[in-house]
Amino acid sequence: MSPLKDNSIFSWTYELVADTLGGPEWLAYGLGALAVIMVVVNGFLLIGTIFTWMERKVVGRFQSRVGPNRVGPFGILQAVADAVKLLFQEDIVPRRADRLLFNAAPIVMLAPSLLALAVIPFGAGSYVADLNIGVLYVVAMSGIASLAVLIAGYASGNKLALLGSMRAVAMLLSYEIPLVMALLGITILAGSMSMVDIIAAQSVPFVLVSPLGALIFLIAMSAELNRPPFDVTEAESELVAGYLTEYSGMKFGVFYLAEFSNVVLAGALFAILFLDGWEWAILPSHLWFLIKVFGFLFVASWVRATLPRMRIDQILTFAWKYLFPLSLVNVLALAVETIAWPDPSGLQLWIMVAINWAIAAAAIPLLSLVVHLGEPARAGRRIPLSEEVF
């Protein structure tokens, strides 16, 4: 009836309810599906919660601090303490807010990333659904998050929140294009949009075959996730906290959790698309997948601790004048190579690796000669202030 039949959690629950307890079929089906959802969603949110602690710890070490170390061993229960604190905080809705939309925004923010989980393979054979449009599905889901940002900004009834959300959406829309182009390159290479097929196609990890694609994906993803150096939405010095300004208590908690869980989702995507997913030797596949995801999370924290924030006009210029042409070069190179070798053997793949690294090494410095982010002040030409752009 559906791909769920292959799922071991599903069939275990199904058999327990239908055969052992003698329940009706529809109940067994529903409970089985619920069990799968419970495991996947809670596992994902648990990793997201661990990441909130891990990031504080890692960034702390980068800044010669200890990071959280009071609650539990190594402060690992800090996230729990934070959640409890947020739960007990007063729930404030501003008088000028649009109450309904104000309450809906956190849900609209978190729901798409949970929906996107459906197509993520966590290990050999463990996924909820293997859609033949997996990559596109994830992109569509991440696009809905920009709506949540707009809703939050508008519903807060606060000018700074609105300004922050307008900036955020301008940035999200701009970076979605290079992101999708990078994914297009992967789709061309693998000849499929299904996550499982993409992992199967990687006899050489795609991070080697398509270094430009991986770089563009990393940069565009950190913009999509509102992470430094692209975190203008919450630029404290300019906008208080952007669209989050008016949120408190658990509504803020949901936004916070969604933000961190989205980084985990991005890590899972990077592991699948560029690092050969769960495939590697010796260790069990789920463990490999977790190791790769946490590797990505560490790099994400590293970037956060290292790079300063960019100005909004620089960010948009960077997306359109630098990343976009770079992604076109990437797609063109991969398409030509795929036409030349429709079904590449091991050696041909390594030749592709060499060519693509050469292209990357040439294209990145060449483009940076042409594009200037911070234009030098010339007489008679005014540099627009960031507020005037958005």
Partner: protein, 170 residues
């Protein structure tokens, strides 16, 4: 069971779609109207998914719910009074007339079209196309329908250039 599920899903999605669309015209809050439009788009995507057109469903979400709706919201925010709506310009009767004509044209087209039901024993290539719709659509777009596809591209390019020349600093 599958049939009952399909019925329930179809009617739920239809109510969501039509209800959302009605909400768009009825509400005075421009921002909420734009969001109700998204609800309607999502309903349509659900109906696409229900008839096994997953690719269309996802594209519907990506382009309409993720792209077009956001642009509509941007445009709505620029209008003078987002929460109250704009003053009526007295063109409502005309708008009703146009929509009725459009609706009747669409309905008659749908009713009069000859919907070929797929045979149970489909020939292999046709059956394969239903399993892997994106690949089949891609081949058709770049072979049989390459001219319309390219024309659409040129039209979009013209729109981009037009927009740029409109906002260019003089």
């Amino acid at each position: 069971m599958e049939n009952a599920f399909t019925e329930v899903a179809f009617w739920t999605l239809s109510i969501v779609t039509v209800g959302g669309a009605l909400g768009v015209v009825r509400t005075h809050n421009m921002f909420r109207a734009a969001l109700l439009l998204v609800v309607s788009f999502v309903g349509v995507a659900g109906i696409f998914a229900l008839v096994n057109a997953e690719f269309l469903a996802v594209v519907q979400l990506l382009v309409y719910a993720g792209g077009v709706a956001v642009l509509v919201i941007f445009a709505a925010m620029i209008t003078t009074n987002v929460t109250e709506g704009n003053r009526s310009t007295g063109t409502q009767p005309f708008a009703v007339l146009v929509s009725l004509v459009l609706l009747s044209a669409l309905v008659s087209a749908i009713v009069q079209a000859e919907w070929a039901l797929l045979p149970d024993d489909m020939p292999a290539p046709l059956a394969a196309a239903f399993v892997d719709t994106p690949a089949a659509l891609g081949r058709m777009l770049l072979n049989e329908f390459v001219l319309p596809f390219e024309i659409a591209g040129v039209v979009l390019l013209a729109a981009v250039i037009g927009a740029l020349s409109l906002v260019r600093e003089r």
